[in-house]
Amino acid sequence: MGARYVGAAVARVEDPRYLRGEARYVDDIKLPGLLHAAFLRSPHAHARFRGVDTARAAAMPGVVRVFTFADLEPFLKPLPVFGAPPPGLAERIRFTIRPTVQYALGPGIARYAGEIVAMVVADSRARAEDAAEALEVEWEPLPAVVEMVAAARPESPRLYPDWPDNVAVGFTHAIGDADAAFGAADVVLEERFRIQRYVGMPIEPRGVVAAFDRRDGTLTTWNSTQVPHFVQQGLATALGLPPGRIRVVAPDVGGGFGTKAAGYPEDALIPIAALALGRPVKWSEDRREHMMAAAHARHQVHEIALAARRDGVILAVRDHIWLDLGAYSGWGIVLPYNTVAHLLGPYRIRNLQVEVAAVVTNKTPSAPYRGAGRPETVFAMDRAVDCLARRIGLDPAEIRRRNYLGADELPWDLGMPYRDGNPLVYDSGDFRSALEAALAAAGYAEFRGAQKRLRERGIYQGIGISGYVEGTGIGPFEGATVRLDLAGRVSVATGAASAGQGHETTFAQVAADALGVPLDWVTVVGGDTAAVAFGVGTFASRSAVNAGSSVHEAATAVRAKLVRAAARLLEAAPEDLTIEDGRVSVRGAPGSAVALAQVIQASLPTFARAGVAAPDFEATACHHVPTVTWASAVHVVRLQVDPETGVVTLLRYVVAHDCGKVINPRIVDGQVHGGVAQGIGGALYEELVYDEHGQLLTGSLMDYLVPTAMEVPPIETVHLEYPSPRNPLGVKGLGEGGAISPPAAIANAIEDALEPWGVRVTETPVSPARLLALIGSRRTA
């Protein structure tokens, strides 16, 4: 057996350049004659504007051109939208879907503060900003629609006057017979939960550089994106160029989290400016722009009800869900349907009734962010379950034991379609074992004793649980091309661009094993449309499943080609050959081994002879992924609350999770840690706050509080491997999971710590002031 890499904790090959500060981000792209763009963005949440007076700005030093809607009209097509229901889903559920049309430059109306009104291109960014300030716009403010539940009412002012209300996506859905179950229940628990607006905050903001080469008619654009092939398709439509004339490169990307998976105005505007001016143009988003114009996320309200028996067995769930989409609905059913599809999670519940309204408001448009509907829905469900447990006097661990699905019950068919239109069937896992593993690792039973003793000394500690089951690795495919050079070294290209996840390591592990070569023979390129013809991108925990499977398939095909050529060279039967450590040999005859380089070179013609086989050591695969695989986890957190100041201190965090076959435990740990950190942000710190006029109040990182290393406690991971039967590697998606459960687990733990006062946490983030107000109201009551 040669070396095996899948499953091994090999060090990340991309890290040295990150750690040395040598990574190359979009802002590091410097081209001769480069110009810089800045934008005038609407200061109003909702306003019409007539004409932009550009005269003063255009005359300022260094200014090359000012672009308004009128200048660019022929180029401007509505921005791409996603999320139409696929056939299997459209047949089962009647959706109301009202598409919104968004232009890269607004034609006379702005629907959120931050929407682009005009673009200035100058010889430096500072001068472009100076000129943008000097643009004069005549505004006519309109009423701002800010709060989602009010916005959904028919009497609310509307963003789109031809709609009957502000609901962009609406539907109802039921499985089983919820009415009967509620009628028969011993206990009905009703609660209202609010999940705030918050979002991934990549350290690198967005950025675009574009250069048009007149000599060969190609446009190259560097874009800090998770989805280079989507950007390519969008530009092909906007510019009327064939995709082959447009090269989109996502170089090193400093975090994506979904924020960089959306289609943005700047993706088109910068290339358009480069074309119009015949010079390369750069735009580097600054943090201020990022806060107001890069996608926001989360933000839901749930009015949830549980029907249960006295012994804690949950019979049915009803949930009325509002989602705040912001000003445009670019993602169709994705967020609302994800929310519904993940509501029941690990619980054995057969009756469900939901009503969903995804609402447009005069705020920054939202997009899927790490978890994409799951953290919100899990918050509602797991908070409700804890409230129910308290109501009937059961321990939160015990109520989960009674309701979690076990291995013997899988595969489990929820009786509804998934977002891709295929039946929603949990393929593998064991949620009860995950629960026990997490409880054991966190020392749950012992903690209960310690908790009591501490409380007697005035120290309030709590423990909280949350679990989820997550559809991961949405298809339908990812492209991968595997190709050998003369020395047998391997290059792997995929459409799954990396934003730091470690693709260069994991895909190299997969390819090295499939080919039988040393790991350091493999170089992985992601994020270059010139390197792989067809691709989708990195989001929705999809890369290991989709790109991993395609890399495996393509590498396996290349291996077959190598074996065929080696068989000719060694005059042996192909089935007798093995490849290990980059050498081919006849099984059982190690002396016969030849280097892969020899096989490849023997396939090339010389003056003396033809090649032994076709010199084709390349293959492309787009492995078909019709539906998702189901990953799962249980999180347990221990924390302490200071009831005099409302400050919450996290003490320990345990994650017992199943992502199928683990390709690299070190990378998996890192992904879990990062997700948990962002979940902690959602639980305790982060919130995009708007005032009643639709003005963003948290416009900088002074006010939008991302947790730092100091706020993140030690995180322990327990890897439970239940391989997925749905792909050749047995893997499941993992990128998002860490972010799903922390808000629910932490809120549950806070309530647990403050049990003597019966505090009920119904919204996040749980800031000290919010918590002290809750404690105060219970103490005096």
Binding site: A126, E129, E644, T645, G646, Y685, T698, L772
Partner: protein, 289 residues
């Protein structure tokens, strides 16, 4: 986020600096560590016509130990004073470690923090609690401005535009005095939501010379003078401390913002004052003769 255009000067000599400040008046801004000014410039919230960078000036980088006080030059970085204070001035080290993060303290100056006068900042409160002062220079000469006269309002001091702080004077604690410095912030390194600094001595088993400053709960750091009067001469009991803290909190006029309500600030100011005094009394007992 690029600043609006400005003229930039980096004088070396004091005369030159003072000359520039006198010439440009409130059109000019002094740049020290830049940790507060540069964000304001980049947001275009401050739009000075002239920036006078004092980082190349000589003679402002010293920490001078005197009998009753230490004198900290205008270019002494917060981190340097923190390291220095770990030996002989633990209250100072306690306060400084709450200021931002290591990287920020490595650039940010002690004098710059005082000149910036953020009411939620640690150093202004410390200056008030210690009854320290700053030395301000202008072409007209120099004057010593005491803490209680320095802080006028939110981000506003009584310094004139042509004045440069050259030195910060921090009185040492009396032998046997105890101290407490506490704050609550949203995250490590954030400005305080609210905080309390306390110094007390014990004489014949009674509280002597109590001094308390609260921050994050008014337009300037707040000296709790009436509470100090309540405490002075009392036995150091929890009841006395709570009574004084309740009085101090009652006199506050905090504001609500994104991060905390006025009510929160008032309540927690009281809590932190109790705790800081508790620490101070404990230390005074430990230190006592």
């Amino acid at each position: 986020m690029k600043p609006a255009p400005f003229a930039y000067h980096a004088p070396r000599a004091l005369d030159e600096t003072l000359g520039l400040l006198a010439r440009h008046g409130d059109e000019a801004k002094i740049l020290a560590g830049g940790q507060s000014l540069v964000p304001l410039l980049n947001f275009r919230l401050a739009r000075p016509a002239v920036v006078v960078d004092i980082n190349r000036m000589s003679g402002l980088g010293e920490i001078r130990e005197e009998d009753r006080q230490i004198a900290v030059g205008a270019l002494v970085r917060q981190r340097r004073l923190e390291v220095w204070a770990q030996q002989g001035f633990p209250l100072l080290a306690d306060a400084l470690r709450y200021v931002g993060h290591h990287a920020i303290r490595t650039r940010g100056t002690v004098a710059g923090s005082l000149a910036h006068a953020d009411p939620a900042a640690e150093l202004p409160a410390l200056l008030v609690c210690l009854e320290g002062s700053v030395v301000a220079r202008s072409p007209a000469g120099h004057r010593e401005v005491r803490a209680r006269e320095l802080f006028v309002s939110h981000l506003t001091t009584s310094l004139r535009p042509d004045e440069l702080i050259t030195e910060v004077r921090l009185p040492r604690l009396h032998t046997g005095a105890g101290w407490g410095f506490l704050e609550v912030a949203r995250r490590h390194g954030d400005f305080a939501l609210v905080g309390a600094a306390a110094v007390v001595s014990l004489a014949d088993g009674r509280i002597a010379e109590p001094r308390v400053a609260l921050f994050g709960c008014g337009a300037t750091p707040v000296r709790a003078s009436r509470a100090e009067a309540i405490l002075a001469g009392q036995p150091p009991t929890p009841e006395a401390v709570v009574a004084a803290a309740r009085d101090a909190a009652g006199a506050l006029a905090p504001e609500s913002d994104l991060h905390a309500t006025a009510e929160y600030r008032r309540r927690v100011a009281q809590t932190l004052m109790v705790r800081a005094l508790g620490l101070a009394i404990g230390r005074a007992r430990g230190n006592g003769p």
